[in-house]
């Protein structure tokens, strides 16, 4: 477990009860593991390499690309980005991806959003070879998670679960409530946790009483996109709260980024809480790098299995 230093709260009585989970520190530890793994792969002749694809306005994805490139370079993963004109057809793009699938110098393919309206993101995600699916978005990647074959998973979901796993809690039998049942976050989190032996309840906008379920939980994940959705009175004292929301709000002091939890009231009740920013976010990008080395190793193993001639 890695925790942030106390935020200089002078009055002990007002000090939040919760330990604030330091996502940046967890990410740094993860990156160190990735760097070690990347070094081994390089020594075996398999330098991990990522290819980023963006379509149309390159500026829209630029902030993600820059951040990913920085993290890739710091962990020994090569990173290349390509931008295609907004007029490109879906068929041409699928062709590009098929080319990358066959290219031994590319181990992972990232599809940057936003895409132009005539390019459905799912069609591209499905075109990526499952062994190169570092974003964990191919249906087969999700299917593997459902079947407890923890290969490449969607980065945000995997990162959120990794944060919970870093706490001194036994996963088997842990009561967990997941608020939000989106395709790429809530649902994969539920299946990942189920595989770890937790008892999972999934709540969403049709749930009659989210509080009833969240109050029964040892850990709560929230990924809805509504600031202030989870308040302290919705938590069991001592519970872990993993806040995946990222919302821009206006305050008298200017715009701020907040999560889906009301941090102050939750911190008074929870045992552990992730801040926004600085919680799940940094771990997500580190998980992409982790997936890059995982994918590279899977491809190396696959290659060796397929092309090694058995000894007589």
């Amino acid at each position: 477990m890695i925790l942030a230093k106390s935020k200089g709260c002078s009055k002990a009585m007002n000090a939040p009860r919760a330990a604030v989970i330091d996502g940046r520190a967890i990410a740094a530890k993860l990156r160190a593991e990735v760097a070690a793994e990347a070094k081994e792969l390089v020594a075996a002749g398999w330098k991990p390499s990522l290819m980023s694809i963006s379509v149309g306005d390159a500026a829209a994805a630029e902030i993600y690309v820059r951040n990913q490139r920085k993290q890739a370079e710091s962990t020994g993963v090569s990173y290349e980005s390509r931008n295609y004109p907004a007029e490109i057809s879906l068929e041409q793009l699928v062709g590009v991806i098929q080319g990358l699938n066959a290219d031994p110098n590319v181990n992972g393919i990232i599809i940057q959003r936003p895409l132009p309206p005539h390019i459905p993101v799912k069609a591209l995600q499905k075109a990526v070879h499952p062994l190169k699916d570092v974003e964990g978005m191919h249906p087969a990647s999700i299917g593997n998670i459902v079947y407890n074959d923890l290969a490449l998973g969607p980065c945000t979901a995997v990162a959120s679960v990794e944060i919970l796993k870093s706490l001194p809690l036994k996963m088997e039998g842990l009561d967990v409530t997941v608020i939000g049942h989106s395709e790429i976050v809530g649902k994969p989190i539920a299946f990942l946790l189920m595989g770890l032996g937790a008892t999972v309840t999934v709540c969403h906008h049709m749930t009659r009483s989210v509080a009833m379920h969240s109050r029964a939980a040892d850990a709560v994940f929230v990924a809805v996109g509504k600031p202030g959705l989870v308040t302290g009175d919705m938590l069991k004292p001592g519970a872990a709260l993993i806040d995946i929301g990222i919302n821009r709000i206006e305050t008298p002091d200017g715009p701020r980024t907040v999560g889906d939890a009301d941090f102050d009231s939750c911190a008074e009740v929870a045992g552990w809480i992730t801040p926004v920013p600085g919680g799940v976010g940094p771990v997500t990008v580190a998980t992409l790098m982790k997936n890059a080395v995982l994918a590279t190793r899977m491809q190396m193993d696959h290659y060796r299995e397929s092309y090694t001639i058995p000894a007589e």
Binding site: N144, K187, H204, M206
Partner: protein, 300 residues
């Protein structure tokens, strides 16, 4: 209070009737005859019985049934070649490989070589992922049957608290995904769950799929809840004479039926729905393959 008994046999017959109507319409309007190919490797007696009864029901609803019986020693390459041939055959809309396969054959590899669009068992890894994330897929037959019975009983399931007991790949997990798709608040409980009675007591819908005879007693069930019992367990029945056995579910029917609002019996509940849903999946796959509207009420 005594629960309404959900008659799976009668409901399955209705589903097959709907399938037959749709098959007739496909023939009349589009000159298309749906076809289901069943592949059986070896001579497992139980599998032979299943395959025979699947074939019979397939032809009864007016679809083509193609049976491929292969020798127990069939090589993986030969089996994969047959599947490729069926994948490419436009008159085959559904492919089912009867499990279990003999030990020398890799089940995952074989199942994942089926075209996902023809995977009427819903076991292809891509279908698993699509269903888990709420996208259009082929849905495993048993959980689909449970969902149909629940929809039929409740109308809308939206907002109901559902508990699935058991996290198996073929029932528990897809069932949870289907209930989420219908906007239930879903809890998946299993052998590691801390306070199972308490978790089950919160539920408006209980789906039991663990394979342990009568493990869920009536006092775990909330008054008026709907109970779907997927378990099929054979237990000793000395009251029927020496050496006799009988089938029971995962739920203690005698006590649960005093509390529940509705309950499926064992046998005669979920069981008969499975083959009916296999036929439903085949006609769904056929409609999709031809770019036609999916049959209403036969898929999610």
């Amino acid at each position: 209070m005594t629960a309404e008994i959900i008659d799976g046999k009668a409901f399955a017959a209705k589903v097959r009737e709907k399938v037959a109507v749709h098959v007739a319409r496909l023939k009349a309007d589009h000159d298309i005859q749906p076809g289901l190919a069943v592949v059986l490797v070896g001579e497992d007696p139980a599998s032979q019985v299943y395959v025979r009864s699947k074939g019979k029901m397939t032809t009864e609803v007016g679809m083509n049934s193609y049976e491929h019986k292969l020798d127990v020693g069939t090589s993986e390459a030969d089996l994969l070649a047959l599947i490729t041939q069926l994948n490419n055959d436009p008159s085959v809309h559904g492919i089912l490989v009867q499990l279990p396969l003999p030990d020398h054959l890799n089940e995952d590899l074989v199942i994942n070589s089926i075209d996902p669009a023809k995977d009427v068992d819903g076991f292809h890894i891509s279908n698993v992922g699509l269903l888990a994330t709420g996208q259009k897929s082929m849905v495993p037959c048993t959980p689909l049957g449970c969902l149909m019975m629940l929809r039929n009983h409740h109308g809308s399931l939206s907002g109901l608290d559902a508990v699935v007991i058991g996290r198996s790949n073929i029932v528990g997990k897809p069932m949870a995904a289907l209930l989420l798709g219908d906007s239930c608040t879903v809890t998946i409980a299993h052998s590691r769950t801390k306070d199972l009675p308490d978790v089950v007591r919160r539920a408006d819908i209980v789906v039991a799929a663990v394979g342990r005879a009568e493990m869920v007693p009536g006092d775990w069930i909330k008054k008026g809840a709907t109970v779907i019992d997927v378990g099929i367990n054979r237990i000793d029945a000395p009251e029927r004479g020496e050496g006799k056995t009988r089938l029971v579910g995962d739920v203690d029917f005698a006590t649960a039926s005093q509390v529940a609002g509705a309950i499926t019996p064992v046998p005669g509940g979920v069981g008969p729905m499975t083959i009916a849903c296999l036929l439903a999946n085949t006609v769904t796959a056929c409609s999709r393959a031809n770019g036609l509207v999916e049959p209403e009420g036969l898929t999610v």
